[in-house]
Structures are given as structure tokens and as C-alpha cells.
């Protein structure tokens, strides 16, 4: 159970203190214990659950997971969604943040509106876009005003349009998280650099490429890690929009757990997510290595 021992006492730079046990340890200990119990322990249990039955070690659950007809489509959809969505989201978020930086009219209102989806769950986003994309929904109604006959965007045999619907819903909901991080990052960059580059005649794209983006790198790194990990967990959007027709890995976990009552296969699926999330985080940390890293701010 002991996953992480509480940090050992040896503070030096702290404000004056007289006690034997450094107060920092006392302050931190509850959180370490709590997280070891409720984060560390379940991870270990999850691994055991996926690979062990009454008779000891087994790969049964993994084979069942892989042989399930929904598994590979779910993996494919999840990866496809991430590969297409993340670059789009970052392009939009950086563009939106740069627009806000020029202080357009009503920029506070715009910022508020763009931040609203930040507090939305993916289930809510799915339901919102269901009202638009369903066969008799607002998109087809609007199209019919122009005399265009709409399609069944969410029909099970129309994978491409289903993918587009999920993509649009996720873009709508989750771009604001990236936006907030990028805006915060931009606030930390003095405008002087940009202006200096401008004085020396750099074009907009040159300034973006050689001044703004390098300075934004730490923020972008955090945003990439957070956003990708959260993107792997997307499922309620697809569930609300398409039911089972557009499987995603986490949705499969939910189905195995609640529908098929098999927590072991569900745990195996959860491990797939865990491993892939960890690998991507490590990849990002390496790819966007930053010299002055570690430590707050």
C-alpha cells in the first residue's frame, strides 16, 4: 500500500521555524496518504484485476478484450480522433489567443463566451450537438430552409459523417481548455520581444514562428499533455451522439463494466488507456524538452 513515502525532513531555505518536524511535512502528509490510497492503490489493483483470476495469472481477459468485435474499431476511432483533433485544436486555440491579444472590441465578452465550454462535460456537449445533428434536428431544419435536403449525419453506416459530428462537438467543447492555457502563457510574455522583432522588419509569420511560439513552449507542453490525456478519456460525446455506433476505448470500458458486467475486461481496457496516456506524456516531455524545467512556474 505504501506507494510513496512522505518526503523526509531537511528544509533549509524556509522562513524561521523552531520545531523538530518541519511543518512542510505535516502539511503535505495528508495529501500523500490520501493519494496513495485513492490513486496509487487502485492502479495496482487495476493491473491485478486485468491479469489475474481465481487461479492466478491469466491472459484470458486481454484476449477477450482484443477479440471483441468493437475493440479495434474503438482503438482506431480513438486514435483517429486524437490525431485529427489535437492539431486543429491547437491551431484554433493559438489563433484565438493571438486575436484576443490584439485587444479587439469587446474582447472581454469574447473571452467569456469562448471560455464557457470549459465548464461543460462531454456528455453535455454530446447532447447539445445531438439537438443539431439528429435526423430531424436543427442542422437539417436549417438546410431545408435553403431547399437542401439534409442527410442522416449520425446513421450507423455513415462512419465519416459520424466522425465529423463527434469531432465538431469535441472541438467546440475542448478548445477552450487549450485557449485558456495559451492565453495565460501569452500573458507571461512581454510584448517587447514581439515589438522588437517588428521593428527589425519580421513579418507576422516570422514573429509567430521565431518569437511567440518558442516562448510559449512551456505552456504548449502542458496543454498538449493535459489535452491529449483528456482526449483519450472522451466517450460521453460519442455515446450521446451515436450510442454504440461510434465506439471509443473508454466507452468500451463503460460497456464492459455496466452492460456486460465484466470488471476484469473493463480493467484491461482501462490499462490500455493508462499505458497509451503515459507513453504520449513521456513522448511530449521528450519532444518538447525545456531547459529550465521542474518546479513551479
Amino acid at each position: 500500500m505504501a506507494v510513496e513515502a512522505p518526503p523526509t525532513p531537511a528544509g533549509t531555505l524556509a522562513p524561521p521555524r523552531r520545531r523538530k518536524i518541519p511543518p512542510a511535512v505535516l502539511l503535505i502528509a495528508p495529501s500523500v496518504v490520501f493519494m496513495a490510497l485513492l490513486l496509487g492503490w487502485p492502479v495496482i489493483q487495476g493491473i491485478l484485476q486485468a491479469f489475474r483470476d481465481e487461479n492466478g495469472f491469466t491472459l484470458d481477459f486481454v484476449t477477450r478484450m482484443v477479440q471483441d468485435p468493437y475493440f479495434w474499431p474503438a482503438v482506431r476511432n480513438t486514435l483517429l480522433l486524437i490525431v485529427v483533433m489535437i492539431p486543429l485544436q491547437f491551431a484554433f486555440a493559438i489563433g484565438m489567443a493571438l486575436m484576443l491579444r490584439t485587444n479587439p472590441r469587446l474582447h472581454k465578452v469574447h473571452f467569456f463566451v469562448w471560455a464557457i465550454p470549459l465548464a461543460l462535460s462531454d456528455l453535455a456537449a454530446g447532447l447539445v450537438w445531438l439537438a443539431i445533428f439528429n435526423d430531424r434536428g436543427y442542422l437539417n431544419s436549417a438546410l431545408s430552409l435553403f431547399g437542401i435536403e439534409g442527410g442522416s449525419w449520425l446513421a450507423y453506416d455513415n462512419q465519416a459523417s459520424m466522425f465529423m459530428c463527434v469531432l465538431i462537438a469535441e472541438l467546440w467543447r475542448a478548445t477552450s481548455l487549450v485557449l485558456i492555457i495559451v492565453v495565460a502563457g501569452l500573458q507571461g510574455i512581454p510584448k517587447d520581444y514581439d515589438e522588437a522583432a517588428q521593428v527589425f522588419g519580421a513579418t507576422f509569420w516570422q514573429r509567430l514562428r521565431h518569437v511567440t511560439l518558442p516562448l510559449l513552449k512551456p505552456s504548449l507542453q502542458v496543454a498538449l499533455i493535459l489535452r491529449t490525456i483528456l482526449a483519450f478519456q472522451t466517450f460521453a460525446v460519442a455515446q450521446a451522439l451515436t450510442g454504440q455506433n461510434f465506439p471509443l476505448v473508454v466507452g468500451e470500458t463503460y460497456r464492459w463494466y455496466t452492460g456486460l458486467q465484466n470488471p476484469n475486461v473493463a480493467a484491461a481496457l482501462a490499462l490500455v488507456i493508462l499505458v497509451v496516456s503515459m507513453l504520449t506524456s513521456i513522448f511530449y516531455l521528450r519532444a518538447l524538452r525545456d531547459k529550465n524545467q521542474g518546479g513551479l512556474r
Binding site: 518526503p7 502539511l27 495529501s31 469562448w114 471560455a115 434536428g137 500573458q187 493535459l226
Partner: protein
């Protein structure tokens, strides 16, 4: 370039300015139109939702659909559960997380870097990984299908963020005022309670709202850990497949409205909470 006054740059700047405004408005419309439409759908009668070209303007508003949604079984209970879980999570996360955040901001101790890395790592833990084993643990200690189970899970999920955010909030309180209070005879606790806390309170409140929002929105863990005592999103999710469209729209509306209020409450803190805090 031979003309004495070249006005093209100014004209271009004007045009750029105009395009910029237009782009901002376009993005805002993209964000707002779906919210408008879900509100419209939730506030229409069931009959008008069955017509085909749906009216895009609020022609016949009624609360019939919403009333039916709120009156359907489990929704009121789920709303109450969501509130209890959200407030419980907020309280737990604050009690455990704020001291740790203070320690990160004010003390340097051995193991601080590993601790912060550990926090970053826990943010990367997918909820699914935790929920399935926790369900079994909670079954054995007999708190499965209670609001406590969900509160514990949500606190664990929110804790890393709470710690990092409160650390940055405390960092923004100058250490000088605290030292001054100590100099004038306050105990460490007294200095914290009388000087630091009042200054940090707005930021901490914003962090708490964020915790609440996270708990309010979390779907998967809540639906795995409960059967009868579901939170609102879990309830909506579980009845998704066998409910009429009108019910789903009303459910979506009920989930959207709080988020607008949350963001309105904390819009001033959005950037400084996410900005310096995260790393």
C-alpha cells in the same frame, strides 16, 4: 514607392482590424449558437419538437419539456446527489489540498521536486483506471453506491489540481506581509489565518469552484461507482438509450446552464489559475 505618402499600410491595417473583429464574432457565434439551440430545444413543447423543419426562432416557448424531465424518476434525487458530491468534494479537496499548496509555496523541503512530479503524474491518471478497482474496494468496505464513494473518487481526482492552484495562489501573496505579522507577534497559524488567508481567499474560492465544476461534470466514475444514488450526469447517461429526444435535450440544457454560471462567476480567475499554476 515614389509617392510621398504611401497610404496602403494604413488601409491594410484597417482591413486587418476589420477582419479580426469579424473573426472574433464568428468564433463567438460558433460557441453560442449550439447553446442557443439546446435552450430552444429544451424550451419547446414536445409537439413542436416532432415537427420537421424545426423552428429556428423561439416561436412557442414552454417549460413543458423541462418539467417532464425534472418530474421523471430519479432526476431530483440525482440533482441533490450532484450537489452533495460537488460540495463534499470541494470541502475535502480544500481541507487536504490547501495546506499542501501552502507548503509548496512557502517551504523548500527535500522531496519537493519528486512531489510535484508526482502531482503532475496523477493528473495524467485516466478516471477509468481508478473507477473500476475502486468500485470493488468500495464494495468490500460497504460504501459502494453512496455519495461518499463518489466524493472520495472526485477528491482524489481534484486534489492534484487543487494543490497546484492553491500553491500559485499563495505564491501571489507577498511573503513580507506574513513576516511582518510574525514580527508583530503572531503565531505561524495566526499569521496564516489573519493575514495570508484573507488575501488568498478569492483565489482559493475560484479554485474551489473549479473543483466543484469538475465534480459536477464527471460522468464515468460516478456511473461506475453508483447504481441508485447517481449524480445528474450519470443519471442522464444511464437513461440515455431508452429516453425520448425531448428528455435528452432537457438533460443537456440542465447540464449546460450551471457551466455558464460557473464561468461567469470565475472569469477573472480563469487565466491566473491555469497560467502560472500548472507547472
Amino acid at each position: 514607392m515614389s509617392t510621398p505618402v504611401d497610404t496602403t499600410p494604413i488601409a491594410r491595417q484597417k482591413r486587418n482590424r476589420f477582419l479580426l473583429q469579424a473573426a472574433c464574432i464568428a468564433v463567438s457565434l460558433f460557441m453560442l449558437i449550439p447553446i442557443y439551440l439546446i435552450s430552444l430545444a429544451a424550451l419547446s413543447t414536445r409537439d413542436s419538437l416532432n415537427q420537421f423543419p424545426l423552428s429556428l426562432l423561439p416561436t412557442n416557448l414552454s417549460v413543458e419539456t423541462l418539467n417532464a424531465f425534472l418530474g421523471s424518476t430519479g432526476i431530483f434525487g440525482a440533482l441533490g446527489n450532484s450537489l452533495i458530491v460537488g460540495l463534499g468534494t470541494l470541502l475535502f479537496a480544500a481541507i487536504i489540498g490547501v495546506p499542501a499548496g501552502y507548503a509548496i509555496a512557502r517551504y523548500s523541503f527535500k522531496g519537493k521536486d519528486p512531489y510535484q512530479l508526482f502531482l503532475l503524474f496523477t493528473r495524467a491518471l485516466p478516471i477509468v483506471v481508478l473507477s473500476v478497482p475502486l468500485a470493488r474496494l468500495f464494495l468490500t468496505v460497504d460504501i459502494y453506491d453512496t455519495t461518499y464513494a463518489v466524493i472520495l473518487l472526485h477528491t482524489a481526482l481534484a486534489l492534484p489540481t487543487t494543490i497546484l492552484i492553491s500553491a500559485s495562489v499563495f505564491l501571489s501573496v507577498p511573503i513580507d506581509v506574513e513576516e511582518a505579522a510574525r514580527l508583530f507577534g503572531c503565531t505561524p497559524l495566526g499569521a496564516f489565518g489573519r493575514v495570508v488567508l484573507p488575501m488568498a481567499l478569492p483565489g482559493l474560492a475560484a479554485a474551489s469552484i473549479f473543483t466543484f465544476v469538475m465534480s459536477w461534470n464527471e460522468v464515468l466514475g460516478a456511473s461506475i461507482l453508483t447504481l441508485d444514488h447517481r449524480t445528474l450526469p450519470a443519471q442522464v447517461l444511464s437513461s440515455l438509450s431508452d429516453s425520448p429526444l425531448a428528455y435528452r435535450f432537457a438533460g443537456g440544457f440542465a447540464l449546460v446552464i450551471p457551466s455558464i454560471i460557473f464561468i461567469a462567476l470565475m472569469r477573472r480567475y480563469l487565466t491566473n489559475m491555469w497560467g502560472s499554476t500548472i507547472r
